[in-house]
């Protein structure tokens, strides 16, 4: 029981990170119908910028104050947002209106480019940083097993919920959000009604990258070790989450992220940690085969 509770806590905090990345995938897919393959690497860039900002502020030895953490988060978000914008501008916008595979190949190239760019710029070695938010509370003590709810995990859950709440407000209540939803429904019609669709698409990438940066920052706080390769697996799993939740659906992405996080954590806890990726990928395949529109997605109508 206690063991399961611990796994639940771990799973939810991991799932929040996946959910944040998944939102970026699902937004881009909703608007321009492509898999932004480089999104996982944008998440990695976010983690690196957070790490560098933390070191710049002299953190890394011990606990960090809330102000410093906020600064790290904001710096990570703004620089990564710039990366998101540039990726779209350089690699995807010239290919708009081209055949369907072109942006995907370009995105794969961008993913390789970003990964190796960070490797060249920052070195291939893993970057360990001390716990910035140490400690936690013990929720339950049963014979020999303590259920730990660490402050980092609390922080991840609180920050993610706050960011997602802000994001939901942005999408549902502002005129920009309305323009984004309009583009998602029908890009051509939105353009006819005077929406600058190129600008909205750029904004989508900026917001998606900022959310991925939040995830990267949380990942850094939680695990304390990053390297240039973390983006690939996290990206594929977040995409799995987006598909599981129903691609194009924002609540679905978060729900999918939570489910993937929980499944992965419970699988490693009760079966085998080595095959946890197989579990996640098998779920992806099963979802797509049995339920192609995901949990909360719209049914796609096939037109001739």
């Amino acid at each position: 029981m206690a063991y399961a509770l611990q796994q639940l806590i771990n799973g939810v905090s991991l799932g929040m990170i996946y959910g944040l990345i998944a939102v970026g995938y699902t937004m881009v897919y909703g608007i321009i119908g492509m898999i932004n393959f480089a999104h996982g690497d944008v998440f990695m860039v976010g983690a690196f910028v957070s790490l560098i900002t933390a070191l710049l502020l002299g953190l890394g030895g011990g606990a960090a104050g809330p102000g410093a953490l906020l600064l790290v988060l904001l710096a990570g978000m703004s620089v990564t947002a710039l990366y998101g914008w540039t990726v779209e501008r350089v690699a995807y916008r010239p290919l708009r209106g081209s055949f369907r595979l072109a942006p995907l190949i370009s995105a794969i190239g961008m993913s390789i480019l970003l990964q190796n760019y960070v490797q060249v710029a920052q070195g291939a070695r893993v970057k360990p940083i001390g716990a910035l938010v140490p400690g936690g509370v013990t929720l339950m003590e049963t014979d020999g097993f303590n259920v730990q709810f660490s402050y980092v995990q609390m922080l991840i859950i609180v920050v993610t919920l706050a960011v997602l709440a802000g994001f939901t407000l942005l999408v549902t209540r502002t005129s920009m959000g309305r323009a984004m939803r309009a583009c998602e429904q029908d890009r051509k019609m939105a353009a006819l009604l005077g929406i600058d669709t190129d600008r909205i698409i750029s904004l989508t990438f900026v917001i998606g990258a900022a959310l991925a940066a939040v995830a990267g920052c949380m990942y850094l706080l939680r695990y304390g070790v990053i390297d240039f390769y973390i983006g690939f697996l996290a990206g594929v799993k977040a995409f799995t989450a987006a598909v599981l939740g129903g691609i194009g659906s924002l609540p679905g992405a978060v729900l999918g992220g939570l489910l993937i996080g929980l499944i992965e954590t419970f699988w490693s806890a009760y079966f085998s940690a080595q095959y946890k990726d197989v579990a996640a990928f098998s779920i992806l395949i099963l979802t797509l085969v049995l339920m192609p529109s995901g949990l909360l997605g719209r049914q796609e109508v096939e037109k001739v």
Binding site: Y29, I35, F48, V49, L51, I52, T53, L55, L56, G60, V79, L82, V90, A91, L95, F99, R100, L101, A102, L104, I105, S106, I108, G109, M110, S111, I112, L113, L114, Q115, N116, Y117, V118, Q119, V120, A121, Q122, G123, A124, R125, K127, P128, G130, V236, F239, T240, V243, Q274, Y275, D277, V278, F281, S282, L284, I285, L288, V289, P292, E302, V304
Partner: protein, 425 residues
């Protein structure tokens, strides 16, 4: 696309380039300007501001040059007419070059090894071309079948002592089975979904190969895989070996030349089968499927069988290539079968111009041979590779060979632009 000439235009371009420089500063200042180094007791930052200054300058000058020389839009490259006409002699030229390569005077061991590597990718590209270029099924996990072929040969020869020539068809059959295994669940999927599921399949195979230590040796892989012989003649210095039988002096290069012709033969087999199949009902069904699946169904084409054969035949050639890979290296490990390999093979197919056999070969030569030029810059190699993928896509989205020869035509066969070919789903 006229060059910007007016004074306003120049001012505008300078302002635009200034913005680009600003963006470049924002991008590079944190990640290039501040390098994290692992030191005693944690991480330290080291400033590298001169590199940032160079990059910012490069962004400014590059953007300015682009704006002033080419106008605001990126140019779409088209081949000049004489070059395009010379294109029809390209295929015989490359074939002749490939056949004669080992006998050219300046070809050493290193060039031959590079030739083998390029031909392996040409073969993989042609194999994947069946799935992606002809049937229009986007496969991001192609390397899984390559792995199945490699491990099949390794395990069959190490466990049962079977020779390469017996294992080669077996490895192909096993890989084809893997293709059908993947094909069944994904029959209903299309486009990006299909891509991501095949990617997941590839990763599953890799994770299983890494962790099933009793069978596959885990991350250490399998070593000591037997080398192939020619009609029972082995390429060793012993009596009864290849050199002894023909009365030659023993030279290790004999084996390399043999391997070179082996992969050349396998690649040409792939090409020949593809070209033949394209003219048969099955190949026509593939191309019809790529253009419009619903119309295919309406015309009574069995979509299930058509898709499964595409997966199976594509996978079979990957299996052949895989067993060649295993026998050449005498060693296989999961590290050779990562996602990046799939991405490289797909990039070769798409950059070559999907469906074009010559384009695939040229793209493999450019990408594999080209990045080999940068082999001294180990870390930079893949960086350049990724950048090249983006740039080629932006400049020539239809691939290097942008025209297709129709598989069947009434009367004369005329080349059609790649824009008129559907990319599949």
């Amino acid at each position: 696309m006229t060059p910007v000439a007016s004074r306003d235009g120049v001012l505008h371009a300078v302002r635009d380039a200034g913005l680009a420089a600003l963006v470049a500063f924002g991008l590079f200042a944190p990640l290039v300007g501040l390098r994290t180094d692992v030191v005693e007791g944690g991480l330290a930052l080291r400033g590298r501001w001169d590199d940032v200054a160079w990059l910012v300058l490069l962004a400014f000058v590059g953007r300015l040059a682009l704006l002033l020389l080419a106008g605001r839009r990126l140019p779409r490259l088209t081949l000049p007419a004489p070059l395009a006409r010379a294109g029809q002699y390209a295929a015989p030229f490359f074939l002749g070059l490939a056949l004669l390569l080992p006998w050219l005077p300046f070809i050493e061991r290193y060039e031959l090894d590079l030739g083998i590597l390029v031909l392996t990718y040409v073969m993989l590209g042609w194999g994947l071309n069946i799935v992606v270029g002809l049937a229009g099924l986007l496969d991001l996990g192609y390397v899984a079948f390559y792995a199945v072929g490699a491990y099949s040969y390794a395990l069959l020869s190490l466990t049962y002592g079977l020779s390469f020539w017996v294992c080669l068809p077996l490895a192909g059959i096993l890989a084809a089975f893997a293709g059908v295994l993947l094909g069944f669940p994904v029959l209903r999927l299309r486009g990006d979904y299909l891509a991501i599921v095949t990617l997941a399949f590839g990763e599953i195979i890799r994770v299983v190969l890494t962790n099933w230590t009793e069978l596959t040796g885990g991350p250490n892989g399998l070593s000591g895989i037997p080398r192939p012989g020619l009609f029972g003649l082995s390429f060793t210095s012993e009596e009864g070996g290849f050199a002894d039988f023909f009365g030659l002096d023993y030279d290790p290069v004999h084996r390399v030349i043999f391997l070179y012709y082996l992969i050349l033969g396998l690649a040409l087999l792939t090409n020949w089968v593809t070209l033949r199949l394209r003219r048969q009902p099955l190949g026509r069904a593939w191309e019809a499927l790529r253009e419009d699946e619903i119309a295919c169904r309406a015309l009574g084409i069995n979509v299930t069988v058509t898709k499964l054969t595409a997966f199976a035949i594509g996978a079979m050639f990957a299996g052949f290539a895989g067993s060649f890979f295993a026998t050449r290296q005498a060693f296989v490990s999961p590290e050779s079968f990562t996602f990046i390999e799939s991405a490289i093979i797909l990039a070769i197919v798409v950059l070559g111009g999907m469906g074009s056999q010559l384009g695939v070969a040229v793209a493999a030569l450019l990408l594999i041979g080209g990045t080999e030029l940068f082999r001294d810059l180990a870390e930079w190699r893949m960086l350049i590779f990724g950048a090249a993928m983006v740039v080629i896509m932006v400049v020539r989205p239809r691939g290097l060979v942008g025209t297709r020869t129709p598989s069947i035509a009434l009367g004369e066969k005329r080349a059609i632009g790649g824009n008129y070919v559907s990319e599949g789903h």
